[in-house]
Symmetry: C2
Subunit: 208 residues, 2 copies
């Protein structure tokens, strides 16, 4: 996705799921004195590669210099595409139980729903993992109205981008896949035109 930045650079790439090898290789090359840039989509600091690099570096007690450059995470770009859903306290939760026990994920979904956080769901669904989003919906519905706006953004800002605003009750009818991020509003979130808006609270205090 960034060919113009890669001219005259040596490039190493790896397949999905090879994150550990990729980070180890990057550190190994940096240890040899090379200047290495490890690239990932989104913000490397949010559910991404920054942590794994630092974890591996700490295991090796490496003395290489590491700089984390922040970027736009899926929550930043998907929120912008939906309007302004993240105007108030929110929780980000990944529904992938590959590296996290499912009971802990359920606990977090319920806690976030009960305390009226806006909820951003990462990794809501994959080919193998299709029931997790339905269970999350069920848990959130215990505490939140079915008419609560819910947004689904797939492949944000890319050619195949798809944006859907629906409701919590109808969430499962939306197309959701591995490239999707789901944002469920809090009890104050409303839809106007094609925008999902969570009020910050100004209207309780000022005339808007």
């Amino acid at each position: 996705m960034i060919p113009e930045l890669l001219i005259d650079k040596d490039i190493l790439s790896s397949a999905m799921m090879q994150e550990v090898d990729r980070c180890k290789k990057a550190i190994e090359l940096a240890e040899q004195g090379k200047k290495i840039t490890l690239i990932c989509g989104g913000d490397p600091g949010i559910y991404a590669m920054a942590g794994l690099v630092l974890e591996i570096a700490s295991t090796l007690n490496s003395s290489i210099e590491i700089e984390i450059v922040p970027g736009l995470a899926a929550l930043n770009s998907c929120a912008a595409r939906l309007g302004a859903p993240l105007m108030h306290d929110f929780a980000a939760i990944s529904l992938s139980d590959l590296l996290t026990p499912w009971d802990l994920i359920e606990k977090r979904v319920s806690a976030a729903a009960q305390a009226d956080f806006i909820i951003v769901l990462y990794n809501p669904k994959s080919k193998k993992r299709i029931k997790h989003i339905a269970r999350a919906q069920e848990l959130i519905l215990v505490h939140r109205d079915g008419n609560t706006p819910a947004g689904v953004v797939t492949a944000a800002t890319r050619e195949n981008e798809k944006i859907t605003i629906t409701t919590l009750a109808n969430l499962l009818e939306a197309d959701i896949n591995m490239q999707s991020t789901v944002i469920i509003g809090n009890s104050k979130t409303f839809q106007w035109q094609d925008y999902m808006i969570t009020p910050r609270g100004y209207s309780d205090k000022y005339s808007i």
Copy 2:
């Protein structure tokens, strides 16, 4: 902060706390056919101006075209300065009770602590609001060890930037002010050198 982008532009600026007037003015000018850019620090979509613009536009049922351009929120940039604290599920909570009832804020802090979310505290302290951070610390300590790493980033990436990594128990000894963001780790977060690192869980599954 962006003079080079403002050459040949008409500029209207307003003081802090005048957000409602500022948004109304922007919409009013856009309604007249002008192309208006409303600028704010961080990501306009996270606790910032995007929501207020859309709220006011919805009240007026305005037909102007609005595009939200995402940016780096404090949570993105502060996380990067601290290392990789946001590698797992996290909750963002503002401790400002100017527009939100304090009991709801307490409920959210407790829920986030109990479900082992990494916690990002926006607006942790101001000149008038000095006890809120102490109360938040107290609520989090009910569920989380005092040795949990806690990071304070003040004025991220600016000239007067200050980065502190301390513990939840010692948090109040750090310099915290209106420009600070506080990030409290989850039960797995650790400190290595000057980095605050939350493991994603790879080490439970793979040899790192």
